[in-house]
């Protein structure tokens, strides 16, 4: 089993500040600490290629 996740992350507490919502709306309300983001050099095919290459070669 092999996992790939993008290297860019956003903290949910920073996101709460950015959108001006009540502190805890995302971190407590949704129970989330962060989220991963792809840049414009990645798409679903590159994500899938990376994870399968890693599975078969590792």
């Amino acid at each position: 089993m092999e996992v790939y996740m993008p290297s860019t992350f956003v903290s949910q507490s920073k996101l709460e500040e950015h959108y001006g919502v009540a502190p805890g709306k995302y971190t407590i309300g949704l129970g989330q600490e962060g989220l991963g983001l792809c840049g414009d050099t990645e798409d679903i095919n590159s994500l899938a290629l990376t994870v399968v290459k890693s599975l078969i070669e590792k």
């Binding site: 089993m1 092999e2 996992v3 790939y4 996740m5 993008p6 992350f9 949910q12 996101l15 959108y19 709306k25 995302y26 309300g29 949704l30 129970g31 989330q32 600490e33 962060g34 989220l35 991963g36 983001l37 792809c38 990645e42 798409d43 679903i44 095919n45 994500l47 899938a48 290629l49 990376t50 994870v51 399968v52 290459k53 890693s54 599975l55 078969i56 070669e57 590792k58």
Partner: protein, 318 residues
């Protein structure tokens, strides 16, 4: 019997793969599938079954069940299946924006693997609902009704859970094991996780279903902490905040024990749609495997949900 591989070192001969299937709802092209793009990693091997399955967050589970069925079928040629579940979850600005995320999981399926799947201990729920869909191909954002999707998720989990309990009892009854299957029977649970709080609330719902079943079977439920909700219609219970608190109280300890490892990754990475439930499984194998609690014989309950809606629940044994 079908089994499921997760060896740490693979070094797979690409000719030893006879099935490759992808579950995703993120499209680069409306016709050319990600599966065919992946064939560039298998030079000289064109003998590979499987396609890309699209069904919201359920595609990876459909691909996995297809792989299980292939491996246990008469048509299996002895080679591995690879299942890939991957998605980029992007939402328009608004209440769903914090539930973005992205990730990919790939795993090997074959016989004699460390995690085994018993085809008799599974259940599926299929229905027609418009809780989440992508009607506009010029934008990557979905149209989503968050409140409806939460109820659809509850309805799906309650349906598959009741069916799974019946199927497990039927399968295990033949072996003389009469201990009833309930929410605490699996040593670990992995749920599809759009956001962590939904997983916690949905696990609590299993306790309501267990208590309602015990009442139906004639047990005296007087004094049970969920007593007042056992005879209400199930629809009345979906928006009941007092019940939500009561369910949280009865399930809190078991929730922490069974979900702390499987939820760890998605709390930080967010929603990964089709990959979500497998990211949870990988998170569990990594963390519980490292601390020694994922011992031989332990049972992992898995719940996968994809809007539209399709859902499955099954057990894996270590």
């Amino acid at each position: 019997m079908n089994l499921f591989c997760d060896d740490h070192r693979y070094d797979i001969d690409t000719n030893a793969v006879g099935r490759l299937e992808v579950g995703t709802e993120t499209l680069v092209d409306k016709s050319k599938s990600t599966k065919t793009v992946l064939m560039s990693l298998f030079p000289g091997n064109t003998d590979v079954e499987g396609a890309t399955v699209i069904n919201a967050c359920y595609g990876g589970t459909a691909a996995l069940l297809n792989a299980f069925h292939w491996v246990e079928s008469d048509g299996w040629d002895g080679r591995y299946a690879i299942v890939v579940a991957a998605d980029i979850a992007a939402y328009a600005k608004g209440p769903a924006r914090p539930t973005c995320g992205a990730g990919a999981v790939a795993f090997l399926v074959g016989r004699d693997a460390p995690l085994s799947f018993n085809p008799r201990e599974r259940a599926t729920h299929a229905s027609h609902v418009w809780d989440f869909f992508k009607p506009d191909h010029s934008v990557e954002y979905p149209t989503v009704d968050g409140a409806l999707s939460q109820v659809c998720y509850y309805q799906a989990i309650e349906d598959v859970y009741q069916r799974l309990v019946r199927n497990v009892h039927k399968a295990r009854g033949e072996n003389g094991n009469k201990k009833p299957f309930d929410a605490e029977s699996p040593d670990f649970w992995v749920f599809h996780s759009p956001y962590n709080k939904l997983v916690q609330k949905s696990f609590g719902r299993l306790y309501l279903i267990d208590a309602r079943r015990r009442l139906e079977e004639g047990e005296n439920m007087e004094g049970h902490p969920l007593e007042e909700w056992l005879t209400k219609t199930i629809e009345e219970t979906y928006s009941d905040k007092t019940l939500e608190k009561a369910l949280k109280a009865v399930s809190a300890d078991a929730y922490t024990q069974r979900f702390k490892d499987s939820n760890a990754a998605s709390i930080k990475i967010g929603n990964t749609y089709a990959a979500s439930v497998f990211l949870g499984l990988a998170s569990l194998v990594d963390r519980a495997g490292s601390n020694g609690s994922l011992e031989e014989g332990k049972i992992i309950g898995v719940f996968s949900y994809g809007s539209g809606a399709l859902a499955s629940m099954y057990c894996l044994q270590v």
